[in-house]
Subunit: 131 residues, 2 copies
């Protein structure tokens, strides 16, 4: 299950805080029953233009990952919570809404497991199937 | 632009090769015009059951990432190519098809930029918009 969240935060201080992001990535997987298998990786990106910068963070969980990319000057953030195991997506949305103080957000849930490629019947919509 | 690829490879040797995966993540961003901003991170996951193992790899590119998760015994792989900049998704699909010897694959392209949250008119379908 791959939960995608894009949102706008009302708090730039959160979006620029590398330590906070690292701590979140370290502790969050366990809170929703995921197994973290790496330390969090966090980098600061400075783009070619002054307004173009942000923090990116990532952590491996068992066979999948959580990733966060912030665009500080736009107050914008992209979040991916991707896990082989099912998890409570609605709770994750609320956790990120609260944790990153998102005032506007959208989400999309994608089933990344594709157990029977031979069976057209189980192919979910939204994907293009390539011969 | 976030390109999701799920697929089945005919070559387990590729899916279990940590070095190959790391080299791919190191060199691939430049090939499609992306700016890599970290070294590749690659981990081997051994699950609680013998058949449950694989390689996960990840690299930061400017404000986004490429991630790969392999499930060796199932010949299955999940790939994410997520970039702020536009890139040739069709080419990326073909590159991964060839590089990982995918014999069955599906893809999904998601626009992760959400420039005007106030404007309902530009909201793409596929997302749930939260108040």
């Amino acid at each position: 299950m791959h939960l995608i969240i894009d949102g706008y935060s009302e708090n730039q201080e959160i979006l620029k805080d590398e330590d906070l992001l690292a701590k979140w990535l370290e502790s969050y997987p366990a809170r929703i029953g995921m197994t973290r298998i790496s330390t969090p990786y966090v980098v600061r990106y400075m783009g070619p233009e002054l307004h173009d910068w942000g923090i990116s963070g990532f952590v491996f969980i068992a066979e999948s990952h959580i990733g966060i990319h912030t665009f500080v000057e736009r107050n914008y953030v992209n979040i991916d919570v991707f896990s082989c195991k099912d998890f409570d997506a609605q709770r994750a949305i609320e956790d990120f809404r609260e944790g990153l103080q998102l005032v506007k957000l959208r989400s999309c849930l994608i089933d990344r497991d594709w157990p029977q490629p031979e069976s057209v019947a189980v192919n979910p919509p939204g994907f293009t199937y390539h011969e």
